[in-house]
Amino acid sequence: MSTPHDPVVSPPVVSLRDVTLRFAGVTALRDVTFDVHPGELFAVIGPNGAGKTSIFNVLSGVYRPQEGEVTFAGTSILGKRPHRIAALGMARTFQNIELFTNLDVVDNLMLGRHHHLGYGWPSAVAWLGRARRQEILNRRRVEEIIDFLEIEAYRHLPVGMLPYGVQKRIELGRALAMEPTLLLLDEPVAGMNGEETEDMARFILEVKHELGLPMILVEHDMGLVMDLADRVMAMDFGTPLTTGTPAEVQAHPEVIRAYLGAGDEIVVGEDAR
């Protein structure tokens, strides 16, 4: 599997340069540098505490790194508030599902359309003209996502009642509803059974192929990462060990050591599955 776009011609969607993040003496990220190119599925792997989620929090503006530079959509996003960054076109899913459990699927997805509502409350109250047109348009977008993710059967059920794997899918749907230009997936298959994992892998691939959306994937399931990602960055203790194709990273001695401890001879990909 190769990157569909030539990195030399098309500028990266997002790039981190020498990003260092510290919390009161603990260094969560040290000199992290990588680019994600259009249409690319970029994965970040590493043991617990390696700093994977910190990268997401830096990207989405929750943490501000002490050193380095982060550019997204052509501008520096350092110091920007999370909702401003989201408005620039970055969407994410969470490790622990963050949905409104008492709302139904459609309403949760409609919330993802929030940035695309171009009308104020007076227009909404009057329910005329623009508000009405936009609501219908947004509802249609939501239906397209329902169709894309095959969740027709759950349309009007409260999200809290749905199986875990379906909730994860709906969270992906909410991120897609934002029509992002970059998607961050934080452990999309954590806690899923085999069948749910397969479904999710299929949807991630379809997002890549059908929507051409660049993604950054943080994941523990090594099999999934190695199957899906175009490039992988392996981390340990906040420091990048290596970046390359799945095969290269899998064969890297430091990666094997970080995951399995020195001297262990089991192949990473098979063991983690």
């Binding site: 239906e143 169709d147 059967a153 379809e206 192929h209 059908e210």
Partner: protein
């Protein structure tokens, strides 16, 4: 009263000309029901016809359709027959080896496949299908820009071909359709085949015309006969003859409006939204609805449960009275029903999407009387019907006011039925008898005799000289070591009438006594176990819980009470897994393949007879 039917395509064309703006079908798309008028239906079908002509399809060629039920299935079916080719349907669940068998056996030159899943199956075996020239796909997701096989053609491009061809050859499809002969092969219906590979049953235009005439005739199964006001939800596989009758042929012949379910998972919701007036279901569907009602009620409030229990008792009494009176009400049952209508039956029927049903049919397999009684009791006019692919699904039906429970009813108009004195086999004869099996004259000659009688392979008997009762498939009859003939399916159906039992396979051929393999209904038993705080992980784990074994033992004891002592189940084993079409244990229509089951689970079976026969 009705003129004899012409070809299927001509029926659609006539409707398109007479009522171009009436709704022929609807499909839920992006959350909205979108209507297709008769004018649009015929226009699309004509485009398909032109496109097929452009691809070089000749009269007599076979064109396969591999898709869930949707508008394009009907456009294709009518378009194919309009150019005098034959439609070959495949089950969406058919795995690649079965796809290979059907495509190779039928010699289809064009395949219309729904999506990437079905295209993948065809391409996997395509190197063994030299005659397959084109694979048209309805959806491009996952295929466009990624697949390079030269046989692939997108639906829109396919229709564009049709437009070009129509512009260059105006009226070509109409002319071909007008030249149709009654003996034209209209479709190959592959029988699901509980033994051996599926065989292609040839149905002609004349067969279909016969079915259409029976259905809309004055002596049809309902009064008034199916018409433009009737709504149908299409959800069972269209390659099966029964759904073809209820969806495509009813629609063309009587103008009933077809509504396509959004997906298999949403059938219940779609039934609620549409509230159809005519419904066809296989026993499995009806059993599942009953089980669903029971699950829902077991989780309801105490008051609701009490209300439900009361009206279920009343409905059982109504059901029994109706059954005893062949479906006719007494004053008392009418009054009781009126009260129950307000308190329970109306909301219940609305909930399951069957509040407006004026005719519900169960067929394709025997149904347990308890299930029929449930539906009759809540006021749903449900009738058991009988037919098979080889007689175009027309043989017998129960009729309003003349119901005999446990029978499949009286012969349809124009149908001769005989029960062979020696073998007890049911024989049928009418204009709907199929033309034979495709490329299989030996099987044909075994099935149709010199006098035109179709040998159904079912054993049956007359009840009161008017109604036909089916005992079993001939080959399924168990002959015990003591020489007793036993029909396993009656016992199995009684077991399956329990909401906890999904599969029951009775074993005992050439054995001293009967035993059974039982598969639980995961939803209901799972719910039951949760309420009793019995922890479980998987199907297999749940199946082996002592409490569950006890539950199943109870079901078997109840069934045993209904049967003679030689017909009682002496022992049972649980199926360690859910039966699966992919594993070859079920046919595409979810019928159990006995020989496969008895092989796969021979260890379980032998363990029940260990010691007794040595």
């Amino acid at each position: 009263m009705t003129e004899p039917s012409t070809s299927l395509a001509a029926l659609v064309r006539d409707r398109a000309r007479a009522t171009p703006d009436r709704i022929a079908m609807r499909e839920k798309n992006l959350g909205l029901w979108e209507a297709v008028t008769w004018g649009e239906y015929w226009e699309r079908a004509t485009l398909v016809g032109h496109a097929l002509l452009a691809l070089g399809v000749q009269p007599g060629d076979r064109v396969a359709v591999h898709s869930e039920n949707r508008r394009e299935w009907l456009y294709s079916d009518i378009g194919i027959t309009a150019v005098r080719a034959a439609t070959v349907g495949l089950y969406p669940t058919n795995p690649a080896p079965e796809v290979l068998h059907v495509l190779r056996d039928s010699g289809a030159t064009v395949l219309i496949a729904e999506d990437q899943e079905q295209v993948d199956k065809a391409l996997e075996v395509a190197d063994q299908l030299p005659q397959l020239r084109h694979v048209v796909h309805l959806e491009h997701r996952g295929i466009r820009g990624r697949y390079t096989d030269e046989r692939l053609l997108e639906w829109d491009a396919f229709l564009d071909l049709g437009r070009e061809h129509a512009a260059a050859n105006p009226g070509a499809v109409d002319r071909t359709a007008d030249a149709a002969e009654p003996d034209d092969l209209a479709t190959l219906v592959y029988t699901s085949g509980t033994t051996g590979p599926p065989k292609g049953a040839m149905l002609s235009q004349a067969n279909i015309a016969f079915v259409c005439d029976v259905l809309r005739g004055a002596d049809a199964f309902i009064d008034p006969p199916p018409n433009e006001k009737d709504l149908i939800v299409s959800y069972l596989p269209l390659c099966h003859v029964a759904e073809r009758v209820f969806t495509t042929w009813f629609n063309a012949a009587a103008g009933t409006q077809v509504n396509f379910a959004e997906s298999i998972d949403t059938v219940q919701q779609n039934l609620r939204e549409i509230q159809p007036t005519i419904v066809f279901g296989v026993p499995r569907i009806w059993e599942k609805i009953v089980a669903g009602v029971h699950i829902r009620m077991s989780g309801a409030s105490r008051l609701k449960r009490a209300n439900f229990a009361l009206w279920m008792r009343v409905s059982r009494w109504i059901g029994r009275t109706l059954v005893a009176r062949q479906g006719r009400h007494t004053v008392a049952t009418r009054l009781a029903y009126a009260a129950g209508w307000v308190a329970c039956y109306r909301p219940l029927r609305e909930r399951i999407g069957l509040s407006k049903v004026r005719y519900a049919a169960s067929g394709a397999a025997p149904i347990a009387p308890e299930v029929l009684e449930f539906f009759m009791g809540i006021g749903l006019p449900m009738f058991e019907v009988y037919g098979m692919t080889e007689n175009s699904a027309v043989a017998t039906t129960n009729r309003p006011g003349r119901v005999k429970l446990g029978t499949v009813g009286e012969p349809q108009p124009g149908t001769e039925i005989r029960v062979d004195e020696q073998t007890g086999e049911i024989l049928t004869r009418h204009a709907g008898t199929f033309a034979g099996y495709w490329n299989n004259p030996e099987a044909t000659s075994r099935t149709i005799d010199a006098d035109g009688w179709l040998h159904t392979g079912d054993v049956g008997e007359w009840v009161d000289g008017t109604h036909l009762r089916i005992t079993d498939r001939i080959k399924d009859i168990i002959i015990t070591a003591g020489g007793k003939n036993i029909s396993p399916s009656e016992i199995e159906n009684s077991l399956k009438a329990s909401p906890y039992v999904k599969e029951a396979i009775v074993v005992g051929d050439r054995r001293k006594f009967l035993t059974a393999l039982i598969g639980i209904e995961l939803d209901t038993v799972g719910d039951w176990a949760q309420k009793r705080r019995i922890p479980f992980t998987t199907y297999r784990d749940l199946s082996t819980k002592p409490e569950v074994l006890e539950l199943v033992r109870g079901v078997i004891a109840t069934t045993n009470e209904k049967f003679a002592s030689v017909e009682t189940i002496k022992d049972f084993r649980m199926l360690p897994k859910e039966l699966d079409h992919d594993a070859g244990e079920l046919t595409a229509t979810q019928k159990v393949k006995r020989s496969v089951i008895t092989d796969t689970f021979s260890a379980e079976i032998e363990s029940m007879y260990a010691g007794s026969e040595r």
